[in-house]
């Protein structure tokens, strides 16, 4: 009993990972767009489970809150209201296939490169920050505190740049959505 539970506990990450992969597969393979969004949701929830398994509670719950609770809802909204039969008639998806394959290949190469570098390369030695006094020197902190230290002290500059990029995207969306008033 004890050993079985221990085994299950050790392999929870694997279980959640397989669930995430299954969800992703459903998302790609499903004929119905809403089913595919549900696969996406499953993948996101399983990802949150993975994060929880490796002891990153904050990341896991943020995954739940942001992706499962926010972004996938917007996906669902769009998918529910879009009429897909016209796009099928025009053969949009057929023409897209070669480009999609090329892009997917590029993505795979990129990801493999990043993983390779993360696992075998050396990470950045010096923190990129405006306030070096706040950088943690190996203190033991809670999960959320750790993360906030990382975001707002060690990597403040990249974080702010990222938020500016997001702001640019937001403004761009507003400009695109704005109708011309004559």
């Amino acid at each position: 009993m004890e050993n079985l539970l221990l085994k299950i506990g050790q392999n929870l990450f694997l279980i959640f990972g397989l669930m995430a992969l299954g969800g992703a597969a459903v998302m790609v393979a499903a004929k119905n767009a809403v089913h595919s969004v549900m696969g996406f949701l499953l993948a996101m929830l399983a990802m949150a489970g993975c994060y929880l398994c490796i002891g990153a509670e904050f990341m896991g719950v943020a995954q739940l809150l942001v992706y499962a609770g926010g972004i996938v809802v917007l996906f669902l909204f769009v998918v529910m209201l879009v009429e897909l039969s016209k796009a099928k008639e025009k053969g949009v998806f057929q023409r897209q296939t070669p480009f999609a394959l090329v892009l997917a290949g590029a993505g795979v190469v990129g990801f493999v490169g990043v993983f390779w570098k993360t696992i075998f390369g050396t990470s950045a030695q010096e923190a990129l920050t405006l306030a070096p006094g706040l950088v943690t020197q190996g203190e033991k902190l809670g999960n959320a505190q750790m993360l906030s230290r990382g975001l707002f002290a060690e990597y403040l500059l990249p974080f702010e740049i990222l938020s500016v990029i997001l702001l640019v995207a937001l403004v761009g969306a507003v400009v695109l959505a704005k109708t011309e008033r004559v």
Partner: protein, 393 residues
Amino acid sequence: MPTPTLTQSVLIAILQAILVVVFIFVIVPLTLFAERKVLGYLQQRLGATRIAGTLTGLSGFLNRNMWKMGKIPMLSYWRGIPMLVGDVLKMILKEDILPTKADKFVFFIAPAISFVASVVVFAAISFVPGTLFTLPQWVPVIGGLPVAGAVGDVNVGLLWILGIASVGVYGIVLAGWASNSKYPLLGGLRSGAQIVSYEVPLTLSLLAPVVMSGSLQFSELSRSMAVGLPIWGIVPQFFGFFIYLTCGFAETNRMPFDMPEAENELVAGFHTEYSGMKFGFFYLAEYINMTVVAAIASAFFLGGPWLLPFGLQGLFNHFLSPHLPALLVTFLCEPHAIFFVGKIILLLFVYIWVRGTIPRYRYDQVMAVAWKYFIPLTLVNLMLAALVRYFAV
């Protein structure tokens, strides 16, 4: 105290889960019943007084004979109690109809998502900090071990609650879509938009306690909001409480904001096509969500398992506990799960009270209230909380 082995802790967790489910299934039918009666009283009616007609059923038989003897039935005040069973039986026994053009899988899975999301939230809710009770020695495997007041009091408990609760919206949106009918679809869309927008002020209003206590753990939050604050900690909590409660009403699709099922606009909204136990799951999920919102409100703002709300308990403990006898100190100054449950019940009453009083908002008003009033207000509230944190704590 012995450290429990893995098997023992898993068994205790299962026991806790069972306790939580029992709690849910006690409090939800009671709320259903209370809703009928209280709503009646609020409108000068009597609410449900019988489950069968006057000529059929046991209650009808009894009532009839009492009336004939010229007496008001003895249990008249409590008549309608069979409604507790009647509601549940009705849901189970009703025919389960599947619309022909519905998407069968999604139609099936939507109530399940709604229900599971609302129950799983209870994992992080701590009824009392520390130990709820210690198991007696004669219990087979887990005898003598303490049972904690929460299933899993993780250190991101509040975020867990918010995250899982936000998954619950899929139930409603998918139900609206899968029914393949226009009113459910409209109801689902309304609900999706409403819940996504009200999540922002809800989370922001819950950030004030987080800022003031500096933790995300449910029990720690509830402890520091109840007894860990000096007197001027009341102010930001007070407004935050009302904002949170209003957003909670909107989040659970309750009466002033029940856009997804507005009866006189959308037939029954997202569950128009549902019947039987599938509808029952939506129904249960709504009431469990109410309980969750009430639990969070009572833990963070009303003092949780301590007696006094709004952080007054800390003051009380500080000044009065040295002068009181030990028995009273145990009762008044220490946490008890019964206070927590009592506050939940009080807030559930407030829910029904509000439902009986305030008419439904128009849809654009609902959205305007969320974006134009609550988000700025919660930001101000958050600033107040930060000031309290900076100067007082």
